[in-house]
Amino acid sequence: MSTAVGRPVNRVDGRCKVTGAARYTAEIVLPGLVHAAVVGADIPSGRVTAIGEERTRAADGVLSVLTHENLSRIATQPPLLPSLLGTAAPGETFFPMQDDVVHYAGQPVAIVIADSHERAQYAASLLDVTYERTDSTTTIDEGRAAAYEAETLFGRLLPARNERGDVVTALARAPVRVDVAHHYAANHHNALEPSATTAVWYGEHLTLYDSTMGIRASQLTVASLLGVPISHVRVITEFVGGGFGGKALTWPHVTLAAMAARHVRRPVRLSLTRPQTYTSNGHREEQEQWVSLGATKDGLLTAVRHEKLSVTSPFDDWAEPATGVTTQLYACENYLGFHRLIRGNTMTPTFTRCPGESLGVSTLEVAMDKLAYATGVDPVELRLRNHASVDDRGNAWSSDGLEECLRTGARRFGWAQRDPEPRSRREGDWLIGSGMSVAAYPVAFFMPVQQARVRIYSDGSAVMQSGTQEFGTGSTTVMTQVAADGLGMDIRDVTFESGDTDLPNASASVGSMGASMVSAAVHNAAVELRRQLVAMAVADTGSPLHGADPSAVVVHGSRMSLDDTAGAGESYAELMRRNHLTMTEALGSWTPPPMDTPHGLLTFGAHFVEVAVDPELGLVRVRRMVGVFAPGRVLNPKLARSQLMGGMLWGMSQALLEGNQMDPRLGRWGARNLGEYLVPVNADVPDVTVEFVDVTDTVVNPLGVKGVGEVGQVATAAAVMNAVFHATGRRIEKLPMTPELVMDPPDTPA
């Protein structure tokens, strides 16, 4: 009966975005607004020994200078938890400017408040901070000897070690064994819009305009740190210029903006500069991963061992969990996965798009490619042979689709024509290769009850509201579609509102769960209001539907009628006006299944990639990408395609371009702008095919939506790595695969 869901509806907010009418957080102007500039530490470790404020205070327009000496103390530091939980969710459990200790470069040591952004930045540059530097650790190489095994990850939500069977014995006895050891450079989010917060106090009540993927997380975190009632903190975000995880948790600058506003008794805007975004909202940590596979000669897995080593902050045990898919994608009785950490002088790493699995599954999928060569089994066939029919707890998948993704992708790509012999195809200066990988991403029911409210007015318009947020994914558009269908209305008559903590509760839009969890609440609210209005009509003696069986009433274009009685019926507006009802509303909620729900929960997909490699110069050009995914119901194929393609391109970028390197002597990131931190430009983007495989899922939520935010990026890098091997015959063990790693050594025969 669906009319809007499943259609490639254009973004409802597209026009205001492309015409500039959309106002982002740093564009909100309030009466009396002043500006805060953050001064970050130049050193990675040590103490602030003196702060000379004289020149700063003398600069034009300066209102105040805050340092650890005069900033108020925080009330309660909440624990680090993923914002999907709907709780307070600080990005790190350290709050700056509470004492003189410096834990990482870029850590805020002062805030300068002035009457314009430019004057605040200039005055901040005049601040004379002196430091006492102590030894620092900022890289794996520096901290390797002091690594320790983590007990839990994700704020103790997940065990850091998972084991079944006897992997050591199984590896030792395996007829075929392959090993992979990879190094992955740190990634930064680089949202086009740097994070910004505007804080304004109305007496004891605080309003924050915050560029965030989780307004509720901002509200709860700031309330806790400031020690004010939750009801006194309201967070508003209308438009967000990208997040990619960097705005998923609440970082110190949000609360600092509120503290600054309270201090100067004026509204304060705090905008991070581009360089500050590299040290203010986390990053994907530098990491190494090892996968060992044991298998029979037919390629059936008998042992899987997956280890990760990465750098975290001095205060939090954070690692992207790299083994959540490895443990269950392939059937294997002997498994071990664990995470080791190094305490380093960085801020706490954080969710970065496709957290954990983008590189975790990449490591596994390069190992599977090696296994395919070691056994002579075709890579696609090898995956099909090993794909588990149940998860690691023995539960059948809520929905699967991997086999069809693999077969469809292979067909679309032309995989059958491939000669598996490495370095067997050349076109001029270029070696041509192809590679594939499996993608899978967990569906995680960490979130609490999700809520939405819908109102219909007597003029026939409807407003659906939920305290979610639009950060560029298209949620406003798809929720409008879901609301329209649930109500039986035309999409033009329905508006979706979000981005305000005064609206019904929803969790942060993270972990690929935004569309699924919010659509569930929106759908339930819409269906509930339709039920109420139909009930009113059949009970109303003035209605043409009086006395009808409510279950026989259908609604299309806001008009209620009996599907077998042409002509008899009326619109919501007619019913409401006759009953002098200006507005009527309903609340909808959705309670997610329990985390231990007895179903396997993964979203599946498959990647096929063709590359051209110039072996003399080490250049890699991706020529074609085919991605096939089974994300359950697709609410809007146009937006879903964009999301998946964005993920695939980021995966390509992880493989070839992206990476930040620490200068360990200075303890600072080498790249702190988009000139030095390379992301793909249009010229790098190949021909990309995105296809969907239909799977029906009755477990995950009422509409069967599994999410498309992350799965496009899972193991995309592995498909590129496997393709580069096929092209050149050489396995590159580091990402990004820059030319110096790819180019043939001097003695290579042509």
């Binding site: 110069l617 371009l657 200068d663 200075l666 793909p680």
Partner: protein, 329 residues
Amino acid sequence: MRPLGYTRVSTVDTAVAAVGADATSTFLAGGTTEVDLIRLGVSRPDVLVDINSLPLKEIAYTNDGGLRIGALARMSDVARSPEVTYNFPALSQSLLLGASEQLRNMASMGGNLCQRTRCAYFRDAVSPCNKREPGTGCSALDGLNRGHAVLGTSEQCIATHPSDAGVAMVAFDAIVHTVGPSGARSIPIDDFYLLPGASPDVEHPLEHGELIVGIEVPPAPSARRSLYLKFRDRQSYEFALVSVAAAIEVREGRVADVRLALGGVGTKPWRARRAEVALTGGPATPQAFANAAAHELEPASPRRYNAFKVPMAQRAMVRALTRAMNGGA
């Protein structure tokens, strides 16, 4: 951003007088690098003298078939002018492979030649850097030096010169015309770029207030079949790891004329004279090209992260020469 004075001038003489009289002032042309550096706190002038109204935008043939390019001609205009695309394709290609179309529409040719290095330690305004603050040391020597130079380096500086157009200009023996407080002069482009030596902060032999007014490119028979190849991490909007401007004239199997210059590997746009000398008069064979390229890189001083540039530059030179001999890109 620091408070700044700004003034606009409309003649060369007033421009030179204005900057010459004030040691804290500097010229402002397209501003595509300079404004960045001012924002970053790397360049710290008190006054900007805007020269964009000066009549220095011509692109024309000289009487002998060379080119005369006004210092304020925009990169995009030069790249697409028929005089350049027909007679000096390497120059056109080098311009089109640099920056982005938006930047090329703003950036001036004089400014392009005067670009400052992209060395992150120079640009961060914090790290020790002899080019930014003489005597503080060089952070790149033992730091993140993947993008840095292997030719023309010193113990004080290994920063790469970023210009693409400068590489083509060096290959074509361009001449830089200036007017300064002491009058007008002409500087061969190879002398216009100074090696860092002990004073990497001094990049050009210009006195304060001396203004580039034009660039002359003399005619060269091989230039019409010249080419510019640029190799980099991504395919657009990125500086070169290695680039090559090449032109070669072969008569009866012997190299009669060859011009070869490198970008991305030198502390200045690098004329590959060692290779040119080795090739001239000899056979135009792949082996000869490879030998000459190896000879050019013999004096290279690779560091921890940029050693790959030595073989990469050699291979790029061989490829550029081969293609130039076969009739262009």
